[in-house]
């Protein structure tokens, strides 16, 4: 009797788990169906001549609204640049008004939680505070998370990486349902430009590895781990020289641009053109194109240009 009961139970369990498994697959199919529904009207939206909030409101509306990216109940990571202990006027960090606005849009779209962090270069609490980002995020209802707690980082394989094969990544980058990458457009002494891809260095624990082993290739390699769902490049104030930290406001010019794109390579390419530098000079953009992460050929894309 016992054996029969055991066999029966095993059989039942197998069927049940199989059913669950296929249901899981079926869920994915449904999700893919939704993705098709979510097809974006444009590959890129470039907007200029407005304040950060208005430009984002207009641009995201042109892309079909934040609900295209964030579904009700999802967890969102918004990843700005909060690398430096500098005020917003210095443009070393992402514009706080823009970050706050994005957090608000995420909640309006039904996000369960919106987290914001960066693995800062200067002492992080000073960066969060003086950049104005902490206040803006809290006001919009989002949560500020430290990037300086190593126990929050998990080692991951970068299977498509050429040089960067594995690295420790913040668990929010691994676990969040949606990633919104919000770099600030600026000059960079080592990497030439600091844009969407460079900004993702801030979710990695060991940056020294990058600097030791071909910075440009590592920056491109990491994007193969997980592409952000949306890149928003903040070109409101642009640091034209002495980047990425800058010395004074004399390095900064108000350009009032914003670029939104799912294609990280295209977004960065567009940003180099706005900045006025040959894209070829920025090594990691070309390397990323080689890795199939996007295109530098902006003519092949359906771009919506808006001047406010």
């Amino acid at each position: 009797m016992k054996r029969r009961a055991f066999l029966f139970k095993t059989f039942a369990a197998t069927i049940a788990s199989g059913a669950l498994f296929s249901m899981g697959k079926w869920n994915t199919v449904v999700a893919q169906g939704q993705n098709q529904e979510n097809e974006l009207p444009f590959d890129m939206v470039a907007i200029k001549n407005g304040d950060p909030s208005t430009m984002f409101d207009t641009a995201i509306a042109a892309l079909g609204g934040m609900k295209k990216f964030v579904k009700p109940g999802q967890t969102v990571l918004v990843k700005p640049n909060i690398g430096w202990d500098a005020t917003p006027e210095r443009a070393a960090n992402t514009n706080p008004e823009l970050v706050g606005r994005i957090v608000k849009h995420c909640f309006d779209a039904g996000a369960k939680s919106v987290m914001v962090f960066d693995n800062s270069c200067d002492e992080w609490t000073r960066c969060y505070k003086n950049s104005g980002i902490e206040a803006a995020v809290k006001q919009a209802g989002g949560q500020i998370v430290t990037g300086k707690d190593e126990t929050q980082y998990r080692e991951v394989e970068i299977s498509n990486g050429n040089v960067l094969k594995k690295t420790k990544v913040h668990k929010l980058m691994i676990e969040s349902d949606v990633i919104i990458n919000v770099p600030v457009l600026k000059n960079h002494g080592g990497a030439k430009m600091s844009l969407s891809m460079k900004n993702l260095m801030g979710v990695v624990w060991d940056r020294e590895f990058y600097h030791k082993n071909d910075l440009q290739q590592c920056i491109a390699d990491f994007v193969t781990y997980r592409k952000p769902d949306l890149n928003v490049i903040d070109g409101f104030r642009v640091m034209k020289r002495n980047g990425p930290r800058g010395v004074s406001v004399a390095d900064v010019v108000e350009m009032k641009y914003q670029i939104l794109s799912k294609d990280i390579v295209a977004a960065d390419t567009a940003a180099t053109k706005i900045f006025g530098i040959d894209t070829k000079e920025v090594g990691h953009i070309l390397l990323a194109e080689k890795l199939g992460l996007g295109t530098t050929n902006l003519d092949s894309l359906n771009i919506k240009r808006i001047t406010l």
């Binding site: 002492e123 609490t125 500020i144 002494g189 080592g190 030791k212 108000e254």
Partner: protein, 534 residues
């Protein structure tokens, strides 16, 4: 006279304010508290205040004068309400009491005056030979600081991070984990020794440390002999029941003779509350009423005079001695250091002193080694020295570019320094205070060796004293401009090269200089109003 029971309550309230305040200050790992808070708390600390007066004389550094005035008026109230090490011992006594049900019963003991005044005398004489080093080792505030910094603060951080981790596990990120500070064996074991000594002395005889070892206690004991207000036993009412001596932490009440040794009395007022006959009173000692005849009263006037001279001359002596000590250390350091022809050598570069300390000699002459600056340094660049400053410069703050780099906008260490060893700098002055200058060894640089992009150093450089210039193809390589370098150590800290050492590093100045301001570059042109370039 029943009305004097409030004295003990006031003593407890003030002492709790100081103890809680200091624990708060030493919990301030990221320097979030306003500096004025710790300035108020440290203002009345006796030895730091004397140091501060001889470093930056002025109204902000005369706390020690007030302490002497307090003592002349009211006896050693400093020891029972302001001194954090004294309050710490009271806390130990309190814990002992609640752990064992009742506090240990004290009895009258003879003073260990020989040890006590030998230490005071020796420390005064040692000023001539070792500067303030020997005093720093026994000073109560410095010792409290070392205990708070190396024993209390790590426990606080670990506790905070434990709670924070639990909250994070459940998705709450409001309580942020604190950075674990570096472990430094010397100050830790020194503080541990003092801490264990305190515990055993407290168990053995209450405030024995304060009345035998502590130089401030010994000095204020002398001053309190001539204080205006004293605790006295009224002969008429006293039944010699001896209750008062069982609560006297200083073991200074002799019930047989009804005499209180005011040089040891720390004015805790426990005895007043213990006396059922209300025969212990806090009264004007100069009035003849209720006063037993004592030897020292006869010579009071003479003592007052000589005491006043001693007190006022103290900072002066310290100042004169310091000048001499500066010369001695200069000569000594000169011997041990390499000649000036190799200023760029990483291995023999010597310690880097923090901005505001003016240089190594000034730091050594004024710093009492309380670790307060190290405890609040938000970037962990400040670490206690071992033998880098020499034997008499142990446990002083030094810039360690391995553990961090000096935040360009931060002026915290100078703001909290109780002894004026690190003077408070305004942001503008701090940003041009040059504690050392950058040296770049191109042969070791990643860009030169592997021909790949890096630029980590320039990235972090706040003045662009390290900037990137064109190299091969699109590559850029660092170039330095030491004139505008302030020596913050960011480049050295982040340089990915470790073998044999960073490819870019700071060579310290023995005496700090002023850096040139970064060249006022013209505002960049705007090309904002163009059409979309794509």
């Amino acid at each position: 006279m029943k009305g004097q029971r409030w004295l003990k309550l006031v003593r407890i309230i003030i002492s709790l304010f100081f103890l809680a305040g200091f624990l708060l200050v030493f919990s301030d790992v990221r320097a979030k508290l306003p500096s004025t808070f710790s300035t108020i708390l440290t203002y009345f600390q006796f030895w730091p205040s004397i140091q501060k007066y001889s470093s930056i004389p002025g109204i902000l550094a005369i706390g020690f004068v007030f302490v002497i005035i307090f003592t002349l008026i009211a006896g050693r109230v400093y020891c029972s309400t302001i001194c954090p090490l004294g309050i710490l011992q009271d806390a130990m006594i309190f814990i002992q009491k609640i752990t064992y049900g009742k506090r240990s019963k004290y009895r009258y003991k003879k003073p260990l005056n020989f040890i006590r005044y030998s230490i005071l005398g020796f420390l005064t004489i040692s000023l001539l030979f070792a500067g303030i080093f020997a005093i720093n080792l026994l000073d109560p505030f410095a010792n409290f600081g070392r205990i708070a910094s190396t024993i209390y603060q790590p426990i606080f951080i670990i506790g905070n991070n434990f709670v924070s981790k639990i909250l994070m596990h459940f998705g709450f990120y409001s309580l942020q984990p604190l950075p674990i500070k570096e472990f430094n064996a010397l100050p830790f074991f020194f503080a541990l020794c003092i801490f264990l000594t305190l515990i055993s002395m407290v168990i053995y005889r209450g405030r024995l440390y304060c009345n035998t070892i502590c130089p401030v206690g010994a000095f204020l004991g002398l001053v309190s002999k001539v204080s205006f207000l004293k605790i006295r036993i009224s002969k008429n009412q006293c039944s010699q029941c001896g209750k008062c001596q069982t609560v006297c932490k200083a073991n200074c009440i002799n019930v047989k003779t009804r005499i209180i040794d005011e040089s040891r009395c720390i004015a805790c007022f426990n005895c007043i509350n213990s006396c059922e006959n209300s025969s212990i009173v806090y009264v004007k000692a100069l009035s003849r009423k209720d006063k037993p005849v004592l030897m020292q009263d006869i010579n009071k006037r003479n003592f007052l005079k000589s005491g006043a001279i001693y007190v006022t001359s103290f900072p002066l002596i310290a100042h004169i001695v310091k000048l001499g000590d500066g010369n001695i250390t200069t000569i000594r350091n000169h011997d041990s250091e390499n000649p000036q022809n190799s200023p760029g050598d990483f291995r023999t570069r010597g310690p880097i002193s923090p901005p505001g300390s003016k240089g190594i000699d000034n730091l050594k002459a004024n710093c009492i080694g309380c670790q307060l600056c190290i405890s609040v340094c938000p970037t962990k660049v400040l670490q206690p020295s071992f033998l880098e400053y020499g034997f008499t410069g142990m446990m002083l703050p030094r810039m360690n570019n391995d553990t961090g780099f000096c935040n360009y906008e931060c002026t915290k260490c100078g703001e909290v320094c109780p002894s004026g060893a690190i003077i408070p700098l305004t942001k503008d002055i701090k940003k041009i205070t040059q504690i050392g200058t950058v040296v770049f060894e191109r042969d070791h640089c990643v860009v030169f060796k592997s021909e790949k992009s890096c630029g980590s150093c320039s990235e972090h450089c706040p003045t662009q004293a390290v900037h990137m210039i064109s190299y091969k193809g699109f590559l850029t390589i660092p170039e330095t401009n030491p004139e505008i370098c302030i020596g913050c150590g960011a480049c050295e800290h982040v340089c990915p090269v470790t073998d044999p050492h960073a490819a870019i590093f700071i060579i310290p100045h023995k005496v700090h200089k002023l850096a040139k301001l970064p060249a006022n570059e013209k505002k960049v042109d705007s090309n904002a109003n163009q059409e979309f370039p794509f």
